[in-house]
Amino acid sequence: MAAQTVPEALDEIFGRYAHETAFVHRQPFFRQAWSFDDVQSRVGRMAAFLRSKGLSHGDAVAICGPNSPWWLTAYLACASQGIVVVPLDFNSTPEFINTVLAETKAKLLVKSVYKVYEGKLETTLLEDVAQLLPEAGDWKGAPVAPDDTLEIVFTSGSTGNPKGVVLTHRNVMNNVANFLEAWPPERHQTSLSLVPLSHMLEQTAGFWAPFHLGCTVVYIASLRPTEITRALYEEGITCIITVPAFLQLLRRRIEAQTGRNRTAKALMRMATVLPFPLARGVTWPIRRKFGSHLRTLAVGGAALPADVEDFWTQLGYTVIQGYGLTETSPLATYSTRGSTRARSVGKSLPNQELAVTETGELLLRGPHVFKEYYNNQAATGQVIDHDGWLHTGDIAEVDPDGFVFLKGRVKNMLLSSNGLNIYPEDIEAKLLNYGDIRDAVVLMDNHADEPKLTAVLLTNRDEAYVRRVVGEVNQALASHQAIQNHIIWPDTDFPRTPTRKVRRQVIQEAVDSRLADKPFIPTQDGTQVQAVLRQVSGTDKSITPDTRIVSDLAIDSIKRLELVTLLEEKLLVAVDETMITPTTTVAQLEKIIDDARRSQSKNAGGQVRGLTRNRLVLGVQSAVQGALLWLLGWYQRIEVSGNALPPGPVMYVANHTSHLDAPTFLRVAGFRGRQKLVVAAAADYFFRGPLRSWLSRNLVHAVPVEREGGVRESLERIGHELSLGRSVVVFPEGSRSTNGRIKPFKPGIGFLAASLQVPVVPVRLKGNFELLPKGSRWPKKGVTHVVVGEARMYSVSLPPDAITHDLQEAVENL
């Protein structure tokens, strides 16, 4: 019997895995790996923190932030205490948050500092959790029953008012167990988290499944295309779980790149006719861009268009499709290579009953079916009948082998004028077979006197093209399904839910309510870039290749940022803001985008250079280093007082009086500690010339940092070392003191501590000035006192100057 509650599951998982990596957290300058032990200890401390806030079983806590291990820490800590989690989408509007908080009577909001929201409720910042947690804490012991509420998930839904889906511990844990039973997992899977954790697909398939298996999930700081590509490469991602819209976007980007390349086109054509293993080999040059390990693409959340599925399968990826609803925690069916049928969403998950009514509606029953809609008995009664069947609202057919084929949503189903059923999804799928139709919604246009079956289309092509497409599609449709009218949607994209589902209702309303005298502005002919520019500038001025972006379209720096962000979202291409100057024209911007596309695929594998990792070199190096430090021991006796050196990675901040300071640290750290310690050293001094660089790098473990300015570069260097699990010694005075007294710290140290969010340990070195002051060549014999202060972390809302000041005081007072 699988675990029925989160505490039971945690018990099992933490008993099985300890040192394996559970999460990788990629922050802007700093990558941190969390072992299962780390997760356990942080969940325990978070649970203690929640208890100290007076929260207990049955209280509600809302979480709103980007995906991160800290999001999950909060989620697991709540769940372990029987506290109800209310996950909120990061992009929720303040009004939506207000409504949900009031309705669920949440007692605490855990949110990201970047979620601008001002409310009365007590708030804890996700970014501050690391430094708020108590030293120790335990998550065990709270009585949690299988039928206790685990979370209330508010579905933004593609239509209507949000409803809170109440999911119990039993619901979610059973869905996870059934999913694992159904999908024989890869042993060494590393997955990349892309779908918001506020969505059940990401929670069950993205988090719980790999967590149960001892696998690693990688969380990235932003969903910028450059960051996604880097993560795929550097982390050796084997699996991504995502929504169809993302695969569609990625496909378009590949096609844009290969469009100019005859070889790539030829390879793709070959792949369509070759058997699987050969096809995989042939498409390698294209797949290479997504890292050499990526194998599995798991898709859910919306229907995957057939041609998108074919595209990725031909490239050599295993595409797993799932179908489900938030109400089923969320998985109900799945299909994988080996157990797949074209256009099917796969077979029923084990331990669930599946049936189809006479009207074609799909019914589900099992332990993963939700308990109720929060405070909405009427709505619950509409979807769960007396026998416990969930009416999914989806129209489906099941073939004799158990494969489920979705036909459409009951509520999307349209009625033709002569009373025949029309499944808009069928027609949309046919339209989407045309590459230039980016998306389509088929609906009844009630604007005219007589309702007309209308296709609303996203495309960059002109009216003539659309007319031809609609004509061709109509050839293949039954007469009652024929498209009578079409509209080119004036925006660059349809309104969508956070999981990128089209908000049909909004489109329906827009179509119905449009004024007769003000028809939709037909999309002017032009490129997608021009469409994005039109959206950002909010102007209907005509945009030509010669239009100057900044002056002609009044794009100020905030809008410039919006433009760059939109280009990333819509075209998956990272454009450097600084490239857009006051004189840049539209044509030049398109060139910049083109270049960015090309360089992205070239530089994807870039690596930052660190210490050497060759074993032989390392051996010789540590022997020479050991010998030198031993020799130094003849001159220098070290006395350490204060705290013990904490396990890394941390940043040591020390005063600087002598060239002996760095070796002193290496001696204090001991043989083992030395392997995990580096010293930030002035680039202009210690890295002048190749020999000096080599000695500094290998014998003193120095990493170069700039003394003047260049904070960004230092951040990257030091962040890289910390990411490798090494502690870094920083001397914030910038250079050695000439009189033994501590000089003012450079402000850069405050920036470093504020941006890196690692523990900072102040250290005072006394005696090295007497042994080897600046200017002398040979050390005297004597004693060095090393006083280690207490590790400290700074709140994200503390300004860098204050941190610099605090650290200076801390070192002086030791």
Partner: protein
């Protein structure tokens, strides 16, 4: 000695979409910049950063190279991660009126230093 100034205005009604887009905020603001959550405050920070970029001639998009913090008196204080050559002093001021936020920054350079 040389004085350089930069000024920026923001209409609060024009940046609602930016304020709701966490992705964009993350590229403009340090965590500390958003420590107060009212739109007026955040718009003030953004305007101040823009004015600083103008005064110092920084490339567009240098948002995160500028740090703003509020002095106990309520006056904003500015620092930049890579001060341009010769910068001696940097001072900024913000004013709010209705939906308008205006930020003014003055920088003092000593061109003879070094």
């Amino acid at each position: 000695m040389r004085v350089a100034c930069g000024v920026d205005t923001i209409d609060l009604t024009q940046i609602q979409s930016t304020l709701r887009d966490a992705t964009q905020l993350q590229r403009m603001l340090h965590a500390g910049d958003a420590s107060r959550q009212d739109p007026e405050h955040i718009a003030g920070r953004i305007a101040l950063k823009e004015a600083t970029m103008k005064a110092l001639g920084m490339p567009p998009g240098s948002w995160l190279d500028i740090f703003v913090h509020t002095h106990a008196s309520g006056k904003p204080e500015l620092s930049v991660s890579q001060p341009p050559h010769g910068l001696v002093s940097l001072d900024g001021s913000i004013s709010h009126h209705g939906n308008l936020v205006i930020a003014f920054v003055v920088a003092l350079f000593d061109d003879k230093s070094k």
